[in-house]
Symmetry: C2
DNA sequence: TCTCAATATATCGCATAACGATATATGAAC
DNA sequence: GTTCATATATCGTTATGCGATATATTGAGA
């Protein structure tokens, strides 16, 4: 399976997942693995840079859980993140219908 | 609009267009421009590397038009290209439904 | 108690490819 | 004969997917 298919779409996946409930990186990875086909699953090594990127863009915010137990950073959507999610959903719909129109002939 | 969205999907667009009728690079570019939204249109500079790539993979084959007139290379699908197109269409359907499931909540 | 697997985060490096910019040449129209 | 559309080609930048690797903690079981 082409590994470039996800390019540019992964942020939408993360934001949509975090909109359901706040999660930390590892549980997010498990969550996504459970609901997308094998070929599309994110490696853990992909999740953290993505989360850092989204936090830098102020679309999500993470807080360290503590003080007891293993350190984990739980992320949730910011106000900007919610708007971005809506925008990315629209963007996906546009892209999706364009691709389907172009690639799949109407019979 | 995110410029990474197309990653990995552009070959499908080209193959699907050439399945309709053989074209050379420039007309292909015009063809695609006419049927996809502004934000997704391919610059001409994108078309030729793509065509070279597809020809190297033996999915399309180009023949120089001649001898009179401006030089132009007309591309059409090979047998392998037709199979690849079918595979990429399936791949798109899988990707498409996965993304929609994950990104757009069912109400 | 010792070990191992699962949990949890982080970062490095490679490969791929979108995409704008730029170069070059021909043909047609004015 | 100058300008615009046609036609192909390539370079450099940038983004990012993704595997590999490193490190630390916790809990279960032998």
């Amino acid at each position: 399976m082409n590994r470039e298919l996800l390019k540019g779409h992964s942020e939408l996946i993360i934001l949509a997942a975090l909109a359901q409930r706040p999660m930390h990186g590892y549980s997010l990875s498990e969550h996504i693995k459970s609901q997308v086909p094998e070929t599309f699953k994110f490696g853990v090594g992909m999740i953290y840079p993505l989360l850092h990127r989204l936090e830098q863009k102020n679309l999500i915010r993470g807080v360290w859980q503590g003080p007891g137990g293993m350190r984990r950073r739980v992320y949730s959507l910011t106000a900007r993140g919610k708007k971005a999610l809506a925008a990315k959903r629209d963007e996906w719909q546009t892209f999706q219908s364009m691709m389907t129109n172009v690639a799949i002939p109407t019979r």
